[in-house]
Structure formats: structure tokens, C-alpha cells
Amino acid sequence: MIPLKINRRELSQIFIYLICFGLPLLCMILPAGFFPIENLTVIEQRIIAIFFLAAFCWILEPIPIHATSILIIFLELILVSDTSLEWVRSTEGTALSYRDIMGAFASPIIMLFLGGFFLAKAATKFRLDTNLARILLRPFGTQPRWVMLGLMFITAFFSMFMSNTATTAMMLSILVPILAVLPEGDKGRTGLALSIPLAANIGGIGTPIGTPPNAIALKYLTGADSISFGEWMSFGVPLALVLLLISWLLLMVVFPFQSDRIELNIKGRFLKNRKAWTVYATFLLTIILWLTDFLHGINAYAVAILPVAVFLATDIINKEDMKKLSWDILWLVSGGIALGYGLDQSGLAEHLVTSIPFEGMSIYTVIGGSALLAMVMANFMSNTATANLLLPIIAALAVALPGISQIGGSTTIVLAVALSASLGMALPISTPPNALAHATGEIQTAQMAKMGILVGIIGIGLIFLTLWIIA
């Protein structure tokens, strides 16, 4: 006989599993009359169950977040698609096309990100990032406050095109040796260490490929609402810059420097072989093409294949490099796309929205509330998963909201939520950049929380200001 011993940790694990998988199962087998929605079809009910599963799994993370995405796709295929398990197939409601569900893996959004990954990989491999940082930091001199501004500016700039995590890792590897020579007890050390993740998270707002929530937002901005790469940057970059400057000022007030000199030491020279030149040229050309789609007519998604094609053809990115791309991020986004597709195609989204009584609700309350919700959620879970969960619902909601056309249509609310998802940065667990910066040992969680909440709230204010200007 093995004595049954369960410690508290295991107990909480079991509890998490019950919530994540038990509740959705219950949700699927309950009679339809149990839900406060009239004429709920079997397919719709199953989509609700899948949505709950996604939500619980992304929040509590009993399995990796990209695994949840694949689970969504798998469950949609066997439960609600036109190739679903025969014994559970329902004639009630519209079955989803299995081709479209699988198509989530190759959605234009995914291609856009793949292009971004190739650019970032090539830039890192040919040390374009480190060398640019070296050149761009030079004019900022040795005064600590200006060096900090320089570091933040460059971090934000890089994270517009590279993953926020890779950018943070690169900048912290420059910063850590400097921190070590600053005197113990100089508050500026904390300020500097905090400046990097703040800048990386803020910089992600700048372009559609800056961070996955942005690309997911594009998915829900179609037809008349669609935004080009250049249009996004036209408001994203100023927004990021202003928020960056405010964060810099805040950091200097809260963590004043005692030292009066910081010496940066980044070694290396620009690579000057043929492959390196190809990387520089392709990088530049891709960005130019992204910004000038109104001239040549190739959309951002198609342009994104250019770096992929060039770098593979020239062996700048080889087979081994390809294996090391962040496929988990792409699959994480795919699951979100499939979830959105399920909500939309099953008719559930529309069905839900029509059963919500909007009369008497202020449009501003709805928008403000959803942006705040996005920020709070993103503080505790992945920013991408937050966008995956909220955006399909928000996009459906936007169509039905009375009075939305006066404030810029559904674009406003979709952007408000997507951008707010980038502002979840109050805790070490909020984003990978935060975790890395916290790992330097220079920052206490309370200090990070104070700055994160402050910048987050100011950020939401700025987002609304920006959206009001562009509406």
C-alpha cells in the first residue's frame, strides 16, 4: 500500500487542473437552457467551453501558453468543424471549416511576424543591433541622465522591430557591467535597470510587428477600418516617444543619480562582408516598402516575405538558425486567431453581443473599462494571450455599440485594447523583459510595481489622447 500523501502544492495543482479543464467540460455538457442566451446552438455552446478553457489556461498556465493555443485548434477541429468526431457532430448551428481553422497557422498576421523574426535574427547574427547601439549611444555622452535616455531610446527603437525579450537581453548585457561599477546605494542603479524593460515594453507599441498584440489588432481591423504599417507608425511612434520621455523624467525624479559619469564600453565594428551588406540593405528596403505601400501596392504582409526570401536564398539565415526562431510565439498567436475565427464563424460573437443590453451604457465607460481590463490582465498573464482573449470579443462588441461611429468606429476600441495590453508591466511576471531586469538584482518588486502602475496609467491616458486625435 502506498500511503496517499498530498501536499499543499500538489493540491493547488489539482485545483488548477480542475478549473482549467473541469469547468470548460462542465460548460460543454450542461443543457443549453442553463446559459442566459436564447437559442444557443450546440456549436456555440462548445465554442463557449473552448473559450473558457483558453481563458483559464492562459491565466493559470497549467500547460505552456503556446500549448493552449494548439489545444484550441485541436478542440475546434474535433468538436465544431466539418471534420469533427462523428458521434458528437451536431447539425444544429454552423460547423466551422477545418481548412480555415488550420489556416490560422498561415494567417497573414503570422507571416508578418515571421518576416519580423527573420529581420531580427539576421540583425542579431550580423551584430547590426550591437553596432547600431554603439553608434547611436555615442552622442549621449557620459552624463548618467543622458546615457539613460540614450539607452531607453535605443531599446525602444530596437523593440519596434525585434522581440522585446531579445532587445532587453541585449541592452542588459551592455548595462550590467556599468551597473557593477556604479557605487553601491546609488539609486540610479535601480533607475537604469528599470529603464530597459520600460523602454522595451513601450517601444513595442511603435510598429505592427513591435509586439504580438499589435499584429492581432490588425487582424480585427479589416475593410474600411484597416490600417497600413505606415499609418500605425504615424501614431504608434509619437505615442511611444512621448511615453518614453515621461518615463525617463519619472525615473530621474524617483531614482536620482549620485554618480556624475557613466562610461559605456561596447566593443566591435560594423561587419563589412557581402552577407552583412545584404542584411543592412534588406533591413532598410523592407522598412521602406512597409512604409510606402500606397506607392507600390504591396501590403505589409506580402512585404514581410521579402526578408524571409532574401535571407534564405543568400544563406544568411541557414537551417540551424531557422530551427531557433521563436515558433512558440507564432503558434501562440495562431491559437488566438483560431479562437477569434471560432467565435466569429459560429455566430456566437454576434449572438452574444445582441443579447447584451447596451442602452444606458456610456460608450466611454465601455472603452475605458476594456482598456483598463486589458492592462490589468496583461500584468498577470502574457500580453499576447490577453490580446488573444479580449480582441475577438471587443471587435464583435464594437460593431454593436451605439454611438461608436462618432468616436472613430471600431478602430478606436480595438486599438485601445491592443495598445493597453502592452502596458502591463508592473510585476516581474508581467513580461519577459521585466523578469530579466528583475533578475539583475537591482530592482525590488515594489519599485517595479510603482513605476509600472504609474507609467501604465499615464500610458492609458496618452492612448486615449492619441486615439482622440486620430479619430
Binding site: A166, L172, H438, A439
Partner: protein
């Protein structure tokens, strides 16, 4: 969850105790095994591998009865199961020839001379653990406290 191991091999009990004491910083997250001979260590690492756990770092003395440290580390280096495991030679008595062998044949990652300083030993284990965790593709986030930051950032820079 697979466990990560640090295996220490040293024939003198009191020296072994002081190594393990120095490594107590890692105790919460890793398993630290104490062995008094190479053959005892071989048993333990076979066990670790059979359970699917990871041998992250080996710290071995050189002069021991039976198989010596360099011989043991050379065999470890040639064993495909422990290709990525990191090796530290901790010794005061290795000859010039032993040292050359340790580098060329056992491909040791660090050489520490006795008597050693605690901070140095901890720092080296941190660096090697970081490299092992990232090369092995083990999630690094729960281990952040035990990793060397510069090594981590440098490796993450390349992979994102």
C-alpha cells in the same frame, strides 16, 4: 518536472562537506549529490540519467583512490548522455601533464585550485548552470535566481 543535479566528487569527507556547504545557495532549486569516489559518482549519474533528470554540473577532485578525477571527467566527456553536462576540476595536486589532459581530453569547463574561495565556486557554478539550462532548452524563468546574469543575457540575445 525533471530535476537538475550538481554532483560533487571528493574522497576526503571534510573537504566534500565544505564543497557542499559552499553550494547550499543552490539547494532549494537543485539536487546536490555527494560522492566519495568516481565509481560512486558513476552509479549516481546513471541513476540521474535513467530517471530522465539532468546532470547539470559535476565538480570533481583529481587525486582519489581508484579512478582519478581527470579519468572520470574524460569518460564523462565521451559519454553522449552527458554531452552538455558542465565539468569543474577542483584540485591542488594535479601535475602539468594531468592539467593538459583535463583540458584536451576531458574538455573541462573550469579549473579551480585548492584552497578555493566560496564566491568563486558559486559564481562558476552559476555561469555553467546558466549555459547548461539554455543549451538544454530547460525553462529558465523559475531558475532566474540561480543563474549568472551576463551569461544569461548573452545567450538570450541570440535566441530571444
Amino acid at each position: 518536472m525533471e530535476k537538475l543535479y550538481i554532483v560533487c566528487i571528493e574522497d576526503q569527507r571534510e573537504v566534500l562537506n565544505s564543497i557542499v556547504e559552499d553550494l547550499s545557495f543552490f539547494e532549494e532549486a537543485l539536487v546536490i549529490e555527494e560522492c566519495e569516489s568516481a565509481s560512486e559518482a558513476e552509479d549516481i549519474i546513471d541513476d540521474i540519467d535513467a530517471k530522465g533528470d539532468f546532470l547539470a554540473v559535476v565538480i570533481s577532485d583529481h587525486v582519489m583512490p581508484g579512478k582519478n578525477g581527470v579519468e572520470f571527467l574524460t569518460e564523462l566527456h565521451d559519454d553522449p548522455r552527458f554531452k552538455r553536462s558542465k565539468k569543474i576540476l577542483l584540485t591542488g595536486l594535479a601535475t602539468h601533464a594531468d592539467t593538459i589532459k583535463a583540458i584536451n581530453q576531458a574538455a573541462i569547463d573550469r579549473y579551480i585550485e585548492k584552497p578555493w574561495q566560496t564566491e568563486m565556486l558559486v559564481q562558476y557554478v552559476k555561469e555553467l548552470l546558466t549555459a547548461f539550462v539554455l543549451q538544454q532548452g530547460i525553462p529558465y524563468k523559475p531558475l532566474l535566481k540561480y543563474l549568472d546574469k551576463l551569461t544569461l543575457f548573452a545567450l538570450l540575445k541570440q535566441t530571444g
